[in-house]
C-alpha cells in the first residue's frame, strides 16, 4: 500500500481538469486523467488499497464528481485530510468513497510511515500512534451501507 501525500486546497481542477468534464463520465474514461495537473505519476502508479493524505480544504472548487468516481474506481481506500470542501464530501458519501477528516493524523504523518485503518471504530494508526475520527450520522451511514446514494434511492423507490 502506498500513501500519496498532497498539500492544502487541492481543488477539483487539479483532481480532474475541467476541460474533460463534458467528455468523460465513466470510470474508465476518468482514470487516465485523475490528478493529471497535480501529479502526472498518480494515474500510472496508483494501486488498489492506496491512501491519500492531504491538507486543508481537499476537493474545493467545482461540483465535480468525476474525481470521486475515479478515486473509488482505482481502489483508493481512504482520503485522510485536515478538512474537506463540502460538495466533494457529499459526493464521496454518495459514491461510497471513504473520507476521513483527521488533522492530527495528517500532521503526524511523514513519508514512509505505516498506516492502519479501523473504520468501524473510527481509528487511524500512523506509525504506531492512534488517532480517532468521529462516526458518521445514521442518515449518512444508511447511504453508505446501501452501497451509495443511487442504490439507496432505488431501494426507497421499490418500497413505495
Amino acid at each position: 500500500m502506498k500513501v500519496w501525500k498532497y498539500g492544502d486546497n487541492i481543488n477539483t481542477d487539479m483532481l480532474f481538469p475541467g476541460k474533460y468534464t463534458y467528455t468523460c463520465s465513466t470510470a474508465e474514461e476518468i482514470k487516465p486523467h485523475l490528478l493529471e495537473d497535480l501529479d502526472s505519476s498518480f494515474s500510472k502508479q496508483v494501486k488498489v488499497g492506496d491512501i491519500i493524505f492531504a491538507g486543508k480544504n481537499f476537493g474545493c472548487g467545482s461540483s465535480r464528481e468525476q474525481p470521486v468516481i475515479g478515486l473509488k474506481a482505482v481502489g483508493i481506500k481512504a482520503v485522510v485530510a485536515e478538512s474537506f470542501a463540502r460538495i466533494f464530501y457529499r459526493a464521496s458519501i454518495n459514491q461510497g468513497l471513504l473520507l476521513i477528516e483527521c488533522p492530527e493524523a495528517v500532521k503526524a504523518y511523514s513519508k514512509g510511515d505505516n498506516i492502519e485503518l479501523d473504520v468501524d471504530n473510527g481509528k487511524i494508526i500512523v506509525s504506531g500512534k492512534m488517532f480517532s475520527f468521529p462516526k458518521l450520522p445514521e442518515e449518512i451511514l444508511a447511504i453508505r451501507d446501501a452501497g451509495g446514494l443511487l442504490a439507496y434511492t432505488r431501494s426507497k423507490l421499490k418500497k413505495k
Binding site: 492544502d8 486546497n9 481543488n11 477539483t12 481542477d13 487539479m14 481538469p17 475541467g18 476541460k19 468534464t21 463534458y22 467528455t23 463520465s25 495537473d37 486543508k56 480544504n57 474545493c60 472548487g61 467545482s62 461540483s63 465535480r64 464528481e65 470521486v68 478538512s83 470542501a85 463540502r86 460538495i87 457529499r90 459526493a91 454518495n94 459514491q95 450520522p137 442518515e139 449518512i140 451509495g148 446514494l149 443511487l150 439507496y152 434511492t153 432505488r154 426507497k156 423507490l157
Partner: protein, 422 residues
C-alpha cells in the same frame, strides 16, 4: 429559540419548530438546477426514469450554458439527449443554447425568490442568496436522486455574520470586496458555514450582491445570503414579481453566530486574486505592470449589464493593447440585448473586444478562449485554479470589470483608480 437565517429556513423546510447546527434534516427543495451535466445525470438513472418518471416536472430547471454552441460531437450529443429528456418529461423550465449562464437565468427569470430553497449540481448555485434564497451546490448523483424522489438531506450549518460598514471608494467594486474577504478568511475560511451579510449593504444592487454571493463557495461556504430589503423588493418588482409571491426570512436579532466579522468598506482597494488560489489576493497596485495576453469580462460572477457598462465607460474612445485579446461574455440574452440597445456592445467591440455567446465560454477551459502555455489571463470570473482555462501552464488572475478594462488598454495589470478619478 433564536435562529439565524439558515436555521430558520431549514426549520421551515424540515417542518420543525427549531433546528440547531449539525442537525440533519430532510427537505424538499423548490427547484433543482442542472446544466450541460444533465446528460450525465440522467444517464445514471435511465431505467428508473423509464419506470418511475421524474417525481415533479416543475422541480427541474435545466440550462444549456457550459459548452455552447456545442464544441464537439460529444457535447452536441449531450445537448441532444437533454432536449429529448426535456420533451419526454415535459420539463417547463428549460433554457436552450443562447439563453445565458444558468445562475443568471435562475435569478433573472424569478425562479429563485426570497425564502425559497434551491439546490443545483453546480458549485455556484450559492449565488441566489443575492435575493434572499437559500441555495447550495450538490453533486451529480445527488441531483439524479432528487429528480426521482424530490427529497434529500441537509446538515444545518453554523453561521458566520459579516458586517460590512462604510462606503466604497471610487473605482472599488463588490468584486473587490469579496476578493478582500476571501483573502482575509482564506479559501476554506467559511467551510461548511452559512454566511450572512449585514450592515451597510443597501448600497449594493442585486447585481453586486450576486457577485458577492456567487463567490461564497470560494470561501468554502454552503450558502451566502443578503437579507431582503427595499433593493431586493424593487429588483423583483422590476422582473414582474409582486411582494405577495414570496415570504422573506430574517434571522432573529439575538441569533448566535459561530463567528462575527466586520469589514470597513472605505478601506478596501481594487484587488487581484493571483494564481492558483482565489485567496492569494493582492492590491491591484502591487501587481501593476504585469503583462497579460488575454482579458475576460463576463461569467456568472461579473457578466451583468452593469459590469459590461463599467467596462464600456472605461474603454469608450480607446483601443485595447495590441498584445491583448479582450473576450466579452454577456451572462444572458437579456443582458446582451440591453447592452446592444445601450451601445455598450458597440463600444466594447470598437475598442477591440470579441463578443462570445451568452454562456460560460472560456470560464471552464472547455472551448472559446483556451490559454497557451506561459500566457496570463486577467478575468472577472470566480476561479483561478491551475488548468481552469484549459492549460496548466497558464496563469489566471481575477479582478473586477473596471480593473480588467483598464488593464486591457495597457496590456498590463493596472489599478483602475488611475483612470476612474471622479
Amino acid at each position: 429559540m433564536s435562529m439565524t437565517f439558515v436555521e430558520k429556513i431549514l426549520a421551515k423546510y424540515a417542518g420543525e419548530k427549531n433546528v440547531v447546527p449539525n442537525q440533519i434534516v430532510t427537505v424538499h427543495p423548490d427547484h433543482l438546477l442542472t446544466h450541460d451535466n444533465t446528460a450525465a445525470i440522467i444517464q445514471k438513472i435511465k431505467p428508473e426514469l423509464k419506470e418511475y418518471g421524474v417525481c415533479d416536472k416543475s422541480l427541474s430547471i435545466i440550462v444549456l450554458d457550459h459548452v455552447i454552441p456545442a464544441a464537439s460531437e460529444k457535447t452536441a450529443t449531450n445537448h441532444k439527449v437533454i432536449r429529448e429528456f426535456v420533451r419526454t418529461h415535459n420539463i417547463g423550465n428549460f433554457f436552450d443554447v443562447g439563453a445565458g449562464v444558468c445562475h443568471q437565468i435562475v435569478v433573472e427569470k424569478g425562479l429563485a425568490l426570497p425564502g425559497k430553497l434551491l439546490l443545483g449540481s453546480d458549485s455556484h448555485t450559492c449565488s441566489y442568496g443575492a435575493v434572499g434564497a437559500f441555495s447550495s451546490g450538490i453533486d451529480r448523483t445527488e441531483a439524479a436522486s432528487l429528480m426521482l424522489t424530490g427529497e434529500t438531506w441537509l446538515k444545518v450549518p453554523n453561521s458566520i455574520k459579516m458586517t460590512l460598514s462604510g462606503k466604497l471608494k471610487l473605482g472599488v467594486s463588490a468584486k473587490d470586496v469579496v476578493l478582500h474577504i476571501i483573502g482575509d478568511i482564506s479559501a476554506s475560511g467559511a467551510n461548511y458555514c452559512s454566511v450572512e451579510f449585514h450592515g451597510d449593504v443597501g448600497q449594493f444592487s442585486i447585481e453586486e450582491r450576486f457577485t458577492v454571493a456567487n463567490m461564497g463557495v470560494e470561501m468554502g461556504a454552503k450558502n451566502a445570503v443578503f437579507l431582503v430589503d427595499d433593493v431586493t423588493k424593487k429588483y423583483l418588482g422590476s422582473i414582474g414579481i409582486s411582494g405577495s409571491s414570496y415570504d422573506p426570512i430574517y434571522p432573529d436579532g439575538d441569533a448566535s453566530y459561530m463567528q462575527e466579522l466586520e469589514y470597513d468598506l472605505s478601506g478596501i482597494v481594487p484587488m487581484v486574486a493571483c494564481p492558483h488560489t482565489v485567496d492569494n489576493v493582492k492590491p491591484a497596485s502591487e501587481m501593476d505592470g504585469l503583462e497579460i495576453q488575454q482579458c475576460l469580462i463576463g461569467t456568472c460572477t461579473n457578466g451583468r449589464f452593469s459590469d459590461l457598462k463599467i467596462a464600456a465607460d472605461i474603454l469608450k474612445g480607446k483601443k485595447i493593447s495590441p498584445n491583448v485579446r479582450l473576450l466579452v461574455l454577456p451572462a444572458s440574452k437579456k443582458i446582451y440585448q440591453d447592452a446592444l440597445r445601450a451601445g455598450v456592445i458597440e463600444t466594447l467591440v470598437e475598442s477591440g473586444g470579441v463578443v462570445l455567446p451568452p454562456g460560460c465560454g472560456p470560464c471552464l477551459g472547455a472551448h472559446q478562449g483556451v490559454l497557451a502555455p506561459g500566457e496570463r489571463c486577467l478575468s472577472t470570473a470566480n476561479r483561478n485554479f491551475k488548468g481552469r482555462m484549459g492549460c496548466k501552464e497558464a496563469e489566471i488572475f481575477l479582478a473586477s470589470p473596471a480593473t480588467v478594462a483598464v488593464s486591457a488598454i495597457h496590456g498590463k495589470i493596472t489599478d483602475p483608480r488611475e483612470v476612474i478619478k471622479k
